[in-house]
Amino acid sequence: MWTFLRRRIISSAIPLIVVIVGVFALARLTGNPASLYLPLNATEQMREDFTARNGFDDPLLVQMANYFGGVLRLDFGVSLRTGEPAGEMVLRAFPATLQLAGVTMLLAVVLAVIVGSWAALKPNGIVDRISSFASMAAASIPDFWLAIMGIWVFAITLGWVPTSGVSSPTSWLLPIAVLLMRPFGVLVQIVRGAMVTSLSEPYIKLARSKGASEVRVVSRHALRNAAAPALTVAGDLAVGLINGAVVVESIFGWPGIGKLMIDSILQRDFAVLQAAVLLTAISIFALNILIDLGYAMLDARVRPTTRARKRRVTPAAAQERKLNVQPTR
């Protein structure tokens, strides 16, 4: 298990570095932010001062070397916009997104498992048809539009929840509901497909032949086997949640990392953008490792302990299972 972890971490480090270098280079290509931060009538001298002060006139490689040197000392640079250390800003915003995304993902999984399993019990039954349609629709509504509609209906017209902010527990409802849609929609279809497959496997018959109740058959035998494909897509969905968080956090004024990233792109606040990307990428890789571990825990056959039959399961490798999933009809 430790060998597996170590290999996984080492192999993750390379993509991580590639992501950071890529963002660093791309960000520099968006142009010198001097005009954004200097007065409109700033002189050439002021521009040069600004550029030199922030090191934007060094060759890209030197800038990059300086940056990575700083990162190794946990110095992520200073935000152009606020003058605060970028690392601090990112660490402050990160928990907000983590909480939002965590609760959303948890709910999405729980609800999708319930709805997906229910639908899989009778493929083409009424529950199946309704949930299929609902899950497809849920996954295809533009999130920003849903967010504004949600505010209009539930906050303004009905007055049930605050429009936005993080002021009260009920503030969580709308952002979560909006963010929930896509992962829920996708997961319902995955769970349903996996459950249909799983429920038709011979081991379900075996369980029934032992007199296992329907609940036991579904929850213990079918679901445990269906969990693997769901877990596989969970990683990609979590990355997708960051996309959603950009939009949702902007609209609801959620002080998270999605909004911080988009703001820092708009404001060419490179230090903050890089720190945010770094932290996001690290957490995504951590998540992927957790998913691998979860995968191994769920299914002994892919457990990497047995060196004899080593079969490393990356989410990529696991992707092939996803395709074995039965279609939604």
Binding site: S12, V18, F144, V239, A281
Partner: protein, 336 residues
Amino acid sequence: MSSPLANPQLPPGGRSVTPPSTEVIALPRTLDTSKPGLFHLLLKDRFATAAAIVLVLVGLTALVGPTLMGDLATQQNLSATNRPPFSLAEGWQFILGSDSLGRSMLARLVVATQTTLSVALPAVGISLVIGSLWGVWAGFHRGWRETISMRIADVIMSFPSLLLAVVVLYVFSPSAANIVLILALTRIPIYLRTARAESAELQSRTFVDAARTFGTKPAAIIRRHVIPVVLPTLLTLATLEFCYVMLAESSLSFLGIGIQPPDVSWGLMVAQGRQYLQTAWWLSLFPGLAIVITTVAANVLAAWLRIATDPAQRWRLTLKHKRKRFIARMPVKEVA
């Protein structure tokens, strides 16, 4: 003839003998003999048919709509802005109301169809072709080619695609072509992973081995034996990706770096209509509905395609629904 039991030298549990059965009664096979055409199958499924009709209509609209209504879509009338829908008072063109510049919503939706599709289809197409070929190649050869390809896929997938698009579109201006390219780039790993997995599995199969034994070149094996098998899965995936790309385009428009005015796409219409939500709801509702309906139709069709292109499952589509206590519900692996 002698009785078998009069044959004591038969070793206990020894030579097991199978009766000379020539044919196994398995439903899929028997029905496969009738080979209903794909189109014929489609007609049997009401939902899939409806979905297909929707998509064909959307496609036709995109093709001919702009020539019919292109002028109408740009014709401004500042004295008749934000007219509500479902009224013929202003003429049939305004059946879906008018927008904030007094242009016909109907005409704009029609023109937007073309823009939307001309972003979504090429983006899906490019990523499908590149991702699939790359994946098949990587999976077929395995080894370092596979490893490196999968690492690249990991890199792209581990960075939120929307943010990547935002960064890239600030570097290069947000033109339709750039949007297509960046969306295609971020979605390549999806096909790459799938194609690789399928191809890796196929390359170990007997018929591929057989072809190898005959000295067929890898490229030819891939072309003749691997791609035809992998294609249905990838096409199904592409249908789903079409939805994703449409949504991504609308999110980019919301952030102000998608399709730029005066061009118009559904996503842009939703994004721009959001500020009129309380005064002119139809500005964002209709294009939003267009996105949802098209997406759901594509989803339904993808689901259907997945079954229809799978010979082992195809027969299920011909199953008549029976309103009985246990309607046909689980796939039956075999009936024996």
